[in-house]
Symmetry: C2
Subunit: 205 residues, 2 copies
Amino acid sequence: MTTTGGVRTFTAKGQATRQRIIEAASRLILEQGLEAATLEDIQASAHVSASQLYHYFSDKSELLMAVVDHQTEAVLGAHRPILERLDSFETLEEWRDMVVTMLEAQNCVGGCPLGSLASGLAESDALARRALADSFEQWQTLLRDGIASMQRRGELQTDVDAGQLALAVLAGVQGGLLLSQTRRDSSSVRIAIDASIAYLRTLRP
Amino acid sequence: MTTTGGVRTFTAKGQATRQRIIEAASRLILEQGLEAATLEDIQASAHVSASQLYHYFSDKSELLMAVVDHQTEAVLGAHRPILERLDSFETLEEWRDMVVTMLEAQNCVGGCPLGSLASGLAESDALARRALADSFEQWQTLLRDGIASMQRRGELQTDVDAGQLALAVLAGVQGGLLLSQTRRDSSSVRIAIDASIAYLRTLRP
């Protein structure tokens, strides 16, 4: 490890180990919850010692911030390709199906990785809270740009606020994922997104 | 403490102490998050020793179940009076204002007590997860009955599924509260509920 301008840099092998720890932590937190996933579990899952873990992360808070960044990239990385080409109701339904399929693939376990981290860290880690607020902002912006494209294509009225619609759609997805996670039934998030789509259909010109 | 048919019973003074512990735990979990609120913090806040705490709760899981029950009563107790008389758009807007006012009174800290517990416990405590699924079910039923009253009064079309509409409204509230908690800004939950109300307005006969 060398330090350049206050930023720690690692060798390629070190980077790979650091990434393995982040991925193990992300998976365990999703599968077991923030409280149950201990540093000991994360070490065991990533096959590293405590001293190795502390070589890469000075404390649990620093590891959690890396998990927030990792899950932001993972979640937005999954949604971005489809939301970037959103300009029709068909694509909106395709996106709904993707959300439901992803949740079913994990048997509804973990809900939304970003929503779960936000709920678990909002009151204990102000830095993580702000980072997650930024993640939601990026997600909302992707939805807003897609809704604005639907407006430009004449699929939606142009006098409605695309940003507010995007926020309402995102809230429905987040709440729907939480209800589906709690009920172990993907129908909640499907019904929530379907209601958003049905509302948008009433806003056709 | 005496045991009657496997159920522990306490004296009136014992009941009051037990209740004080539950309320301290509920408040600390809401304000600091599930992970940060340690048993030591809860003991200090409730002014009890560790042995007193273990006299009332055999382990943390039993205390958490009592917190789930307590917060279910607190949240549904706040929503029930207004949702039980829901039969018009005016009352729906009154309910939205209550949700926003309650969140602002806590400076957006903690979000929804039930949503936060569900997100934090769903993967680590199957009993708590099922209890919270039941809490959401009760909340959805209150909303569904109110929406059905609106249908009977001719405020809404009768051919739409009141249960699915209630689920979509609840999802919007939960997601909106989470976004508001993360952003420390009550406008997210207001916009989310406003979108639900606007959608319901399109379903007038």
